[in-house]
Subunit: 192 residues, 2 copies
DNA sequence: AATTCGTCTTGACATTTGTCAATGTTTTTT
DNA sequence: AAAAAACATTGACAAATGTCAAGACGAATT
């Protein structure tokens, strides 16, 4: 399973065989069954997780017990809770496998070691976070400027690989609308 | 005006006098009048801007000519468009001064030079972007999980310094609701 | 094979929010 | 000081969305 990560990294940066070995030596493979949790709200999360195979959802449960999905992570994406692991706070997020999933886990310590020993890797991760930041900014913009139908259509266009692997009501949760409203929007779109 | 930035940096990281001089040597002071633009949608933005004094809004104008405010930046905050300057795309954002404002401008080249010569500075900026990232994630979460009144109340609590320097209809824009709705929400809150 | 569970849809109704128009007030500009 | 522009509020109505309840369908479990 490490080769998925190796392929991923190779496409982004150039590393020596020794550097790959170093990374491999600290990567822990973890398998998750469908519906199994990788992280639960309140836990202290001290890892970075890379998804080799499968599909995860990150979500928060509010006072009323309603889930709100912040992110889906599929193959070649990262998952986790940077906020919790950076600030050392208990995590606000749950992470659950929606399919049988294999992730690579890196403890914070190991990860920092990798960053300090492999500067290119450090820069890559920084660039990754920067990109995640403006992806998030764009999502904020969408949420304040588009109506539900537009947001749904954009979701389909942007994440077709996710859209057909995930139940509708979870897409609704991701978009911040009720499952019923999404169902009606889909009906409307069909008519056109 | 550079001393505002120096004070800011001193609180975050430790730098030598020489390092401060280096930073100062590439910082360009720019004054903006009220309503003056620092950046316009479509421009190529190649800077980082630090606000020494005043207040900026970053926003995007949609097809219908409606503004959507992404961010307010006050003293000791950054402004700009990382997405545009990182990817080299024309900017999606406008940045306008809502008050007489003084910013420190760093060109991308100068900024990279600073990062390479002052590792602590580079790490600090990376940490800053990381924090901005999860602030943005939290805003996404708020937008999908809270109603308008809750979002407004949280805005007041989180940014009291901004709330009373900015017109209501801009807060509405930031929250993704109409000015009329915000007005009614305020009336409701008063009653309680 | 039968049963349970999760998913998606639909109807009916209530609530929230947007839109348009009007008005009074304050702030800015001339 | 007068005029113009920006701002905040309100009413009336329309549109969008949420909530609750019910039912159909298929997948997973026993």
């Amino acid at each position: 399973m490490f080769d998925v990560f190796q392929d991923y990294l190779s496409q982004k940066i150039t590393l020596s065989a020794q550097e790959f070995d170093l990374i491999k030596s600290v990567a822990k493979i973890k398998k998750l069954r469908k519906r199994q949790y990788l992280l639960q709200q309140g836990d202290f999360w001290k890892y970075k997780a890379f998804v080799c195979q499968g599909l995860l959802r990150s979500f928060r449960t509010d006072d009323k017990g309603v889930d709100h999905i912040i992110q889906f992570s599929i193959e070649n994406w990262w998952a986790g809770d940077i906020e919790s692991s950076t600030l050392g706070n208990p995590s606000k997020n749950n992470i659950e496998a929606l399919e049988t999933t294999t992730v690579l886990l890196f403890s914070n310590n190991d990860f920092e070691m990798l960053e300090s020993k492999i500067p290119v890797f450090k820069d890559f991760i920084a660039a990754l976070i920067t990109q995640s930041y403006f992806a998030s900014q764009n999502r904020v913009h969408d949420s304040i400027s588009m109506n539900s139908e537009e947001r749904y259509s954009k979701f389909l266009k942007t994440y077709p690989q996710i859209a057909n692997r995930v139940p509708q009501h979870m897409i609704a949760s991701y978009l911040g609308i009720s499952a019923e409203t999404l169902s009606r929007i889909r009906k409307q779109i069909q008519k056109k």
